[in-house]
Structure formats: C-alpha cells, structure tokens
C-alpha cells in the first residue's frame, strides 16, 4: 500500500479533483494506494510513510519525498505525461 499525499490550499477543491483522478489511475493499473488529502500547510505532519506528494498549488519546500505537481488534472493539458510520471513513482 503506497501512501499518496494530495494537497492544495484549502484541502477541498482542486485536491479532490486530483485525488479522484489518482485513485482511478491506481485502480486501472492495479496499484494499491492510500490517499491522504490535506492542505499544503499540513503536508509536513502527514509525511510519515508517504511515497509521493501531488500538490495542485505551489510548494516551495523539499520534503524528501518525490513531488509531482498535479495542476494538469485541473487544466487537462498534459494529463497523459502526468499520469505516466505518477505511475513511475508508484511502481517503484
């Protein structure tokens, strides 16, 4: 079970759209994941055991965990590449 942190400014809007997309992606590819949805400011306190962070807002810090911006899930531009990148990390 891989833990994926999905975060945005308020933890309700854009991160939910990204979280749904990642859940579907993992299901399609038979990867077991556990999504932790939170605010950007709460990433640090949820880091324990995380395999990947997908923020839909800007993140300046390095948390020592792979981080892939998820804005493409909102814009629809570059979704395929984004999904590939996420799968690369989740398959490791």
């Amino acid at each position: 079970m891989k833990k994926v942190i999905v975060a945005c400014g308020g933890a309700v809007a854009t991160s939910t759209v990204a979280a749904n997309a990642i859940e579907e992606l993992a299901k399609k590819n038979d990867i077991d994941i556990n999504i932790c949805q939170c605010r950007i400011s709460e990433i640090q306190s949820n880091l324990d055991g995380a395999a990947l962070i997908v923020p839909t807002s800007r993140v300046k810090r390095d948390y020592g965990v792979p981080l892939i911006p998820g804005t493409a899930f909102i814009s629809g531009v570059g979704t395929d590449q984004l999904e590939e990148k996420i799968l690369d990390v989740l398959r490791k």
Partner: protein, 162 residues
C-alpha cells in the same frame, strides 16, 4: 445541475480591468451586491490568490478560477467574466505568469457543492471550442447557452455510459 443556477446578472461578457485585483473587485463586487458573499470576500480572494494562484494556461487560453473559504460566503454561486483585455494572473502550482481572458469566480458554502461546481468548470475549460465561443460571446444569454449546451452533451454521454 450546477449550471441551472447561472444568473444573467452574474455574467460579464466584457470586463474592463488592468490588474487581477481589479478583476476580483469587479466580479466579487457583483457577488456582494447580490448578497451571495460577505463584504470580507474580496479581500479574502485577493489574499488567497497571492498565496495560492488559480490561473491556468489551457493551450494558450488563460483562465482563472478564484475562490476562497466558505466563511466569506452566504450562498453558492458562480460568477463569470470575459476580460476585454488579457490580465496578468499566476498559474496554479507553478507561479508562472498567465495572461487571463476568462474568469470563473466561485462562491461556495458546502465543500461537496464546491467539488461539483469545480468539476463542471473543469469540463468547460478543457473544451477548446467552448472557450473560443465564450471569448466570442457578446451577452450573458449567449454565454449561458454555450455552457448549457455543453452540459446537455455531457448528460447525454453519461446516460449512455450508464
């Protein structure tokens, strides 16, 4: 569905603004006037836009979806502004500059409604044809029709999938 609630007097086909703050003031002001949001809404939008920008570059068409937390909102609403001239916003997630032409401002009370509202908007903004017809629209009625046509197509497609 979400777009049933679209109101003509919350749709502005030709917003004249030079800065993103002005855009937030004009559209946010309309929401305040109609009672959908509290007076604190505009300031909250501005602060949030600085910390968490909401601009998106959809293959060269700049969009922004400013929103803020429910404490500044009385009732759910969507305010749409087509900007007469492009206005500088910053991109969600990257902070790259984006010249924005279309703004979807969200007023939300219920986080679940928020998601539906956002999903509807995402479907609209991912459709290049729709964006082009929005940019060419001259009046609120036309904008509402364009969006509702898209929604009907979506409903039909969903029913077929079911």
């Amino acid at each position: 569905m979400v777009w049933e609630e679209l109101e003509e007097n919350l749709i502005f086909p030709s917003v004249k603004a030079k800065t993103s703050d002005e855009v937030l003031e004009i559209l946010g002001g309309a929401l305040i006037k109609k009672g959908y949001v509290k007076n604190s809404y505009i300031q909250a939008l501005k602060e949030r836009e600085v910390e968490f920008p909401t601009g998106l570059d959809i293959n060269g068409i700049g969009i922004a979806i400013p929103h803020t937390s429910a404490e500044h909102v009385n009732n759910t609403a969507t305010c749409i502004g087509i900007l007469k001239n492009p206005v500088l916003f910053y991109e969600m997630g990257t902070d790259n500059p984006v010249q924005v032409r279309i703004v979807f401002m969200l007023a939300v009370t219920d986080p679940h409604a928020h998601i539906d509202q956002l999903k509807q908007i995402i479907l609209i903004i991912q459709d290049r044809n729709i964006l082009h017809s929005l940019l060419g629209s001259n009046n609120p009625k036309e904008i509402i029709q364009t969006i509702k046509r898209k929604e009907q197509v979506l409903v039909v497609t969903q029913e077929r999938e079911d």
